[in-house]
Amino acid sequence: MSSERLNRIIATDCGSTTTKAILIEYIEGEGYRQTIRGEAPTTVEAPLNDVTRGVVNAVQELEELARLKYKNENITFLFDGPNGEKEILIPRNGDKGVDAYVSTSSAGGGLQMMVTGVVANMTGESAERAALGAGAIVMDVVASNDKRLNHEKIERIRELRPDMILMAGGVDGGTIKHVVEMAELVSAADPKPRLGSSYKLPIIYAGNKTATDAIKETLADKVELILCDNIRPTLENENLGPARDKIHDLFMEHVMQQAPGYHKLMEWTRGPLNGKLQNIPIMPTPAAVGNIMKTIAQEEQIEVLGVDIGGATTDVFSVFTDEYIFNRTVSANLGMSYSISNVLASATLPNILRWVPFDINESDLRNMIKNKMIRPTTIPALLEELVLEQAIAKEALRLAFIQHKEFAVSLKGMQQTRDISQAFEQTTSGGTIVNMMTLDLLVGSGGVLSHAPRRHQTVMMLIDAFLPEGITRLAVDSIFMMPHLGVLAEINPTAATEVFNKDCMIMLGSCVAPVGKIKPDAVALSAEIHLPDGTVFKEDIRFGEMRLLPCGLGQKAKAILKPGKGLDLGAGKNETREVELPGGVVGIVLDTRGRRPFVLPSDNSRIPLLKKWMKELKAYPEHILS
């Protein structure tokens, strides 16, 4: 990896509907900045069937906007290639060309995988973690003990048409029977790859090493078998790296090769590495987002939780613990358009309506949600519809986060040694590592969060859905630039982190929320906050309140925060914290509505309470809250 000075870089993310291009430039005195963006429809389907057409269109927009911005007609990013089609010009020579071009892709449904294991919540889970971490959508986890009968497993494997399969199972040296049996089921199902019938389905075997010969004997004739180190060599160890790397290699070699135009795009993505112009592999979009999150967590030594809520799916990423353990989950059917109806089905109507500060006819709401599903590109023009969509978003985020917490756990099946002081603690192997109290930064991304008409609404949605505890910074990805920066971090982490901090993240502010049970009329937080404008906010805030204090972008407020009796702000029960609270485009939110449990009233007091909080947060215009 090198950090050579690259003055002009183009990064694209080829999404399933839109190809988004950004220009990153080194500007003297400022460092790396994202300067221009362009987009065009993705072109992987008929009639064009060539992803590079969309890339050229998006880059052409960048080129035109760059010429306008710098009033320089000589700026050129594209040239006419040998067969008369436009290509990206690398390396740069003055105004002509760019120093590097990198790309991510989720077009054509992204990377779709099936994983197998022996014990569902041990090797099955490790395999799922490896696949998700590599940016895949996991279509199913088939395990020896998953309660389905063998013939049902065969039918399931046959009906799924994944891009590849990851097989895990067994610790090294352990029994081989179960993992070989699983291979036999896979062999009997004779699964076919999703794209193209001309190649064999790639299967990565990352299970018990001792079973390798038997696995080869069972599968090698039918599929493209790739052997890899065991992802669970012992019960106490998870070794996901080699399997993830193999998934990425295969994604490039097999899946991308089948997608229309990708063989060309793979030749285009180039940049200087170790002094030589080299090909930079295209990354699956979620893998790139994970990459930038890990980079940021490590560089800033913080714990990060990120969410990307799209039309069809919601991805949650987290980096927790001192070892910076990265986890990613995809809630494949929680989204704000294609899958909006599934949010209603999963969350149930009462849970959505509890966030709505007015009465609404249930049947109208159900039909509105279904109409959004069948016409996914429409936007809420009426304020009431915006409030309803944001209520649905809170539930989609909440459910996706529950799934994430259940998945981001310490290894199951490990034997734990405990001393006498731990004997009464309830921690077991397999507990979640997501700790909202130690979380430093919560990042939101995706249309409903990034494009909310008021950033205050983004803050409200993040707080209501994730219920941050103690003191937490809140941010939003301005234009969904994280994928671009994630792949850029592969060749130039400096450029990636600089742009992330300056242009990608919009800091919204901080949230202060004491945790614990308290009587409804008791003081939950005594706050003395010295605000940047010189004023001092001082209040004993009772349970069930919200406050929004002004503290702008780049500013900090000195705060003395004393939690109410029996409550915790991160330093222990009843312990006062003296901290600097970072501001943002929204400010500092003090939230004494309670955590563990957080309960919304179900009686007549709910609507007035919601209105009060929304008014305090300036979430919506006054007239809808009066």
Binding site: S16, T17, T18, E39, A40, P41, E45, P47, G108, G109, N150, H151, I154, E155, I176, K177, V180, E181, E184, L185, S187, A188, A189, D190, A214, E217, T218, A312, N333, Y338, S339, S341, N342, A345, S346, S363, D364, R366, N367, M368, I369, K370, N371, M373, I374, R375, P376, T377, T378, I379, P380, A381, L382, L383, E385, L386, H451, P453, R454, P621
Partner: protein, 376 residues
């Protein structure tokens, strides 16, 4: 700037239609290029591999996996009848007494036998899959071993949402205009085998009646979400439909709720009343959009079958649009102006807008994302 409006649904009295009819696996094509086919005709067929039944012989025989081979009476690839002996041990102390016989529970063949796990896999006979033409037309292309392309000239309506698969039937209009609801009292035995047309809404009672009398298809403006849930027994979470087996196929032209069927759509259906119609409810909104369709074949000469290149409809002053979100959901208007600058709508969202005049003369400002072009 990416396209900021929905391309809209086709409603046309004459279109050259191409339909690919492809097998899920390679098989045999039963027609040849130039053949005239009817919707009901078979055009291709294949056999899916039969289901696999695994059995652990080692466990059943009470021996370790590596010894299973010694007791086998069959070999991989062997054709089996139900009751055939798969394996047999030597009985009590090898005396031949109290032998354990493992017999095949199915007709089929031996797929494989493993000495690692002692497992035998039996495969049931292959399952035939047949593809019909679905529309009356001419076979214009044969994709060897895969299927055919059929062309015809049709009146054609794309729906917004539907349920259940392909059906054919004579078109029968049951309402006086696109505003009238389709009720159970309008449906009687004369609707059997037909594709019936309602106006703004079809009720649950009407759908049940239609199933009862044997209606093949229902075409209507709107439907209530709760009625679909009651009908299917579950809530549709993601818009991927067409696999349901309701006993009737349903196609919705406008959306959920009570919404008047667009005049143009209703008039077109009325014009072709009594004609043979092919329709399906298959809907997929995610990548690779599939919309439900009503196809009414019309007379044509083969030289007329020149399919036009699909074009993206343009949004310009004079374009007829349908409003696809509240307020004014379902209304039809004409674009009068397309201002370049962003506009703040009631929800405070800044969007690209258009100005339009409704059929009743009312003038409106609308987000471009909330209209679709009515293709003509």
């Amino acid at each position: 700037m990416a396209q900021a409006y929905s391309p809209g649904l086709s409603v046309t009295d004459s279109i050259v239609l191409r339909k690919q009819r492809i097998l899920p696996l390679k098989g045999t094509v039963l027609v040849k290029k130039g053949d005239k086919v009817k919707a009901e005709d078979l055009v291709a067929e294949t056999h899916l591999p039969g289901n696999v039944l695994p059995m652990n012989l080692a466990n059943k025989l009470g021996v370790s996996a590596n010894l299973v081979m010694e007791y086998l009476k069959v070999k991989p690839g062997q054709i089996l009848k139900k009751g055939d002996i798969l394996a047999e041990n030597n009985g009590f102390f090898g005396t031949g007494l109290f032998k354990t016989k493992i017999v095949s529970p199915i007709d089929g063949e031996v797929e494989s036998i493993s000495h690692h796990t002692g497992q035998i896999l039996l495969r049931e006979p292959r399952i035939p899959v047949q593809i019909k033409a679905f529309i009356d037309g001419v076979v214009v292309d044969v994709i060897p071993e895969e299927g055919v392309v059929i062309e015809n000239k049709s009146a054609y309506i794309q729906g917004i949402f539907g349920i259940s698969g392909e059906v054919t039937g004579e078109l029968k209009i049951l309402v006086k205009d696109g505003n009238e609801e389709l009720t159970d009292t309008m449906i009687d035995a004369s609707c059997k085998g037909k594709c019936i047309v309602g106006g703004s809404m079809v009720s649950l009672k009407a759908i049940k009646k239609a199933i009862e009398v044997g209606v093949n298809g229902i075409i209507c403006g709107g439907i209530d979400d709760q009625d679909i849930k009651a009908l299917l027994g579950y809530d549709i979470g993601v818009a991927i439909t067409g696999h349901e087996h309701l006993g009737v196929s349903i196609l919705i032209t406008e959306g959920f709720g009570k919404i008047k069927m667009a005049d143009k759509t209703f008039a077109l259906l009325k014009r072709f009343e009594g004609k043979k119609t092919s329709m399906h409810g298959k809907t997929q909104i995610r990548a690779g959009v599939i919309r439900p369709e009503v196809i009414i074949p019309i007379e044509f000469k083969e030289e007329e079958l020149i399919a036009q290149e699909a074009e993206m409809p343009t949004l310009e002053p004079g374009t007829i649009i349908r409003i696809i979100r509240q307020p004014n959901f379902g209304e039809i208007g004409t674009v009068t102006r397309l201002p370049e600058e962003l506009h703040t709508v009631e929800s405070e969202t800044k969007v690209r807008i258009l100005e339009a005049q409704l059929e009743n003369g009312k003038k409106l400002i609308l987000p471009r994302a909330n209209v679709e072009v009515i293709e003509t």
